[in-house]
């Protein structure tokens, strides 16, 4: 059952991501990427990382990709993306080469006998509880740093994209609207 699910997901994810990478249509690319991410969260559930799966769903699928979609509306992307490629074979040589080496590397038996768990899950705790225990003890500092980073990024995003946001265009009469061309 799990084997079947893994292969199903693997094939689907690979296909979807290939569409993302190869498609000329931004909408296809975005849709397939979002779908692939949902399926990856499925893999996380299979792996028992429930919390990670949900975070993947909420943050990646629900927020990150939605922001991408929102940003897409700023650009004229209804047409196909035209990209000039000088040496298409080079790209696939590189990608294929790396894929090949990685696969060979991972397909070889892993010398991982000596690996032991640094933070094994607490017995009897559910995944979110175990994650919380580790996250708020050992990884508290990185966690706080990450939160500060997110705050900074949020402010940066607002400042970068949202200049002149204090002017509410919908609350104004049309003839006193500022000349947006000039301000842009």
């Amino acid at each position: 059952m799990i084997t079947f699910a893994f292969y199903l997901f693997a094939v689907l994810i690979t296909g979807l991501f290939l569409v993302t990478v190869m498609s000329k249509n931004v909408l296809y690319a975005m849709t397939s990427l979002a779908a692939g991410m949902v399926l990856i969260s499925g893999l996380f559930f299979i792996l028992g990382a429930d919390f990670l799966g949900v975070v993947q769903l909420i943050v990646y699928v629900g927020a990150v990709m939605a922001v991408y979609a929102f940003a897409m509306m700023f650009f004229d992307l209804s047409r196909d993306v035209e990209e000039r490629h000088d040496k298409p074979w080079l790209i696939f040589l590189l990608g294929g080469g790396i894929a090949l080496t990685l696969v060979v590397m991972f397909a070889a038996p892993i010398m991982g006998e000596a690996v032991h768990a640094l933070y094994p899950p607490v017995a009897g705790a559910t995944n979110p509880q175990a994650v919380g225990l580790v996250l708020f003890t050992k990884y508290l500092l990185p966690f706080e740093v990450a939160s500060v980073m997110l705050l900074v990024a949020m402010i940066a995003g607002i400042i970068l994209a949202g200049k002149k946001m204090e002017i509410s265009l919908s609350a104004m009469d049309e003839d006193i609207l500022p000349d947006t061309k000039e301000n842009a």
Partner: protein, 630 residues
């Protein structure tokens, strides 16, 4: 006791740093007073330590860990044994006198403060040299005194270069460089010696090294002994590295007195004395040292016979006396060498400082042919220099008599009659040139008058400051027995054989006779006044001696000029043609490759990303390759 060690060591350093604060300021008497006072404190501490060592034995302190790298561990430690205590006392005593003297002598110099800074720094280095308990500390002090010597010889660096006819050493800065370079050559030998010691023994502590000597390969011991002695040869100006010492007289006279007579130049002798277990184990090298010392003794004395330069005569005399010390040390009479070292320090410093007084009176004129009859104007200086010269000549009951006589006895005792004979003859020469100088300077007709000099005696306190040296020059010899007992607690005792004891009276009489003969000959020749003999002065031996056996010219012809020519060749043919061309070539290759590789900088992120992923591919492939190797 530890505190006294630190006081003795660091008081000069404190003085030096204090004076250095004022180095760019106009003369401030406070620097001279403070450094002199600190030196005196150091002297007192040294005397206390001497007393302590005499009663309680050696003191050993470790200030801190200095070098700890791998197996190598060299503490910054000091060992005050009998030899060190003697050296410390001598050094600090002479230094104190010289400091006080310099207050008067450098009175009008605009770099007064800088001078005291250097002088005290020298004393600090010298203290490190003698107090260190390992070869590396000794080497640091060794280099420190070298640097200070360089600074002080070239103290009047602003003096212009002149030709060798006018001044044999051309200029102070030239002389300073000469001294420094010659010492570098010798120090290389010393460094090799130290490396060999560490390589073979694995430690540089004196105690460990000398403990290991008996178990070592004889050939290696000889090699180490020779290399260490090369260092000693440079510092103590032994042939053939002797030319710098006479030229070093370009420095201020207190410097000559302190560094180039009493202390630094004896560092080579100190090294040989310090390494006596090593040299005792290699008699052939010791014998070579003795022979070389003997040769230098007569070689330098011969040059002093004809020289007209007041300070150079004393410098050659110093050289000659260093030869005596090496002869004693080479013959195994280490305590005798040390005894002569100390006695020599007192009377030679006195002699130099007296010469400084004369120079002062004569407006820095050094040609003794232009002096004469100064005894009227400079009674006390005449007394001091006469005493010092008597001591140097070895007349009973002054210090030189005891020390030099003992060396001659030792030479006789070892059945090295050749050495004895040469040293004996040199004693006569010494007496002659010393009194030739004294008489030409102080007695006879007043030749300076037509030249317009108005000599005058120096300040009273300077004369008082010299009195300890004068007293010691007279009485130091009387302490021969206690001194021997004291230092032979550490150094090997040297017993005269019965045969020598039997002949000691004869030896003494013979030695005194030739010394007196030299004095009488000088008195006859020069007491009345200067009578120049053209025929003698034109004769070949005289000219050879006057030109220092043409060695400086030889060095210049054989080493300096070919070296300069070689340097020119290297500059024009190698440096410009090869090195510069290579560098320019590299630059142009880089520029051209930059020009051609500039095309990579398309400004297009996509191209960069392609390059990056190419690199990633290579890295991953490398990892895979490395993994497959396992």
């Amino acid at each position: 006791m530890e505190n006294y060690v630190y006081i003795a060591l660091f008081a000069p350093l404190a003085g030096s740093l204090f004076a250095a604060l004022f180095s760019q300021r106009p003369k401030a008497l406070v620097t001279g007073v403070v450094t002199s006072t600190l030196l005196f404190i150091s002297f007192v501490a040294s005397v206390i330590l001497l007393n302590h060592v005499h009663h309680e034995g050696a003191v050993h302190v470790t200030l801190m860990d200095w070098i700890s790298a791998g197996d190598m561990s060299i503490p910054f430690g000091f060992n005050i044994d009998q030899v060190t205590a003697v050296m410390m006392t001598v050094v600090t005593l002479v230094s104190t006198v010289v400091h006080v003297y310099s207050n008067g002598y450098m009175d009008h110099d605009k770099s007064f403060n800088r001078f005291f800074s250097y002088l005290s720094a020298f004393v600090f280095s010298m203290m490190v040299l003698v107090m260190s308990d390992n070869f590396l500390g000794l080497f640091i002090g060794w280099e420190g005194v070298g640097v200070c010597s360089w600074l002080l010889i070239g103290f009047w660096y602003h003096k212009a270069d002149v030709t060798r006819d006018v001044n044999p050493s051309i200029s102070p800065s030239w002389a300073a460089n000469e001294a420094f370079i010659m010492n570098r050559i010798a120090d290389l030998g010393m460094l090799v010696g130290i490396f060999l010691i560490y390589w073979n023994i694995g430690s540089l502590q004196y105690a460990d090294v000398f403990a290991a000597v008996p178990s070592m390969n004889h050939g290696m011991l000889v090699t180490i002994g020779i290399f260490l002695f090369i260092g000693a040869m440079g510092k103590s100006a032994q042939f053939p590295l002797h030319t710098w010492l006479a030229d070093a007289m370009e420095g201020p006279t207190p410097v000559s007195a302190l560094i180039h007579a009493a202390t630094m130049v004896t560092a080579g002798v100190y090294l040989v004395i310090r390494a006596n277990p090593l040299y005792s184990a290699i008699p052939e090298v010791s014998y070579f040292i003795a022979v070389l010392g003997t040769f230098v003794a007569i070689f330098a004395a011969s040059m002093a016979l004809v020289n007209r330069d007041l300070k150079r005569i004393i410098a050659y005399s110093t050289l000659s006396q260093l030869g005596y010390m090496f002869a004693a040390a080479g013959l195994g009479a280490y305590w005798v060498a040390l005894f002569h070292l100390a006695a020599h320090a007192f009377f030679k410093a006195l002699l130099f400082l007296g010469a400084g007084n004369v120079m002062h009176a004569m407006d820095d004129e050094l040609d003794i042919f232009k002096m004469g009859g100064l005894k009227k104007a400079m009674r006390w200086t005449y007394l001091y220099m006469g005493l010092a010269s008597l001591a140097l000549a070895g007349i009973w009951p002054l210090a030189g008599f005891f020390s030099k006589d003992t060396i001659l006895e030792a030479a006789f005792n070892e059945h090295t009659y050749g050495i004895w004979l040469v040293l004996w003859f040199t004693a006569g020469l010494t007496a002659f040139y010393s009194f030739r100088q004294v008489f030409l300077t102080f007695a006879g007709d007043e030749r300076y008058k037509p030249l317009g000099f108005h000599p005058h005696e120096v300040q009273k306190y300077v004369l008082w400051a010299l009195s300890p040296l004068a007293i010691l020059a007279v009485i130091f010899g009387w302490f021969k027995e206690p001194f021997m007992e004291f230092v032979t607690q550490f150094l090997p005792a040297y017993e005269m054989s019965e045969h020598t004891e039997h002949n000691v009276v004869i030896l003494t009489v013979v030695t005194t006779a030739i010394a007196l003969g030299g004095i009488i000959f000088a008195w006859m020749r020069y007491y009345k006044g200067l009578k120049r003999d053209e025929k003698v002065e034109q004769s070949l031996p005289y000219r050879i001696l006057l030109n220092q056996y043409y060695i400086p010219i030889l060095y210049e012809r054989v080493f300096s000029k070919p070296y300069a020519a070689l340097s020119k060749v290297f500059w024009e043919d190698v440096d410009q043609q090869v090195v510069d061309a290579t560098v320019d070539g590299i630059a142009s290759v880089i520029q051209e490759s930059g020009d051609s590789s500039r095309k990579i900088q398309t400004g297009n992120l996509s191209d960069y990303l392609k390059l990056m992923s190419g690199g990633a591919l290579v890295l991953v492939a490398l990892v895979l390759f490395a993994a497959m190797q396992n």
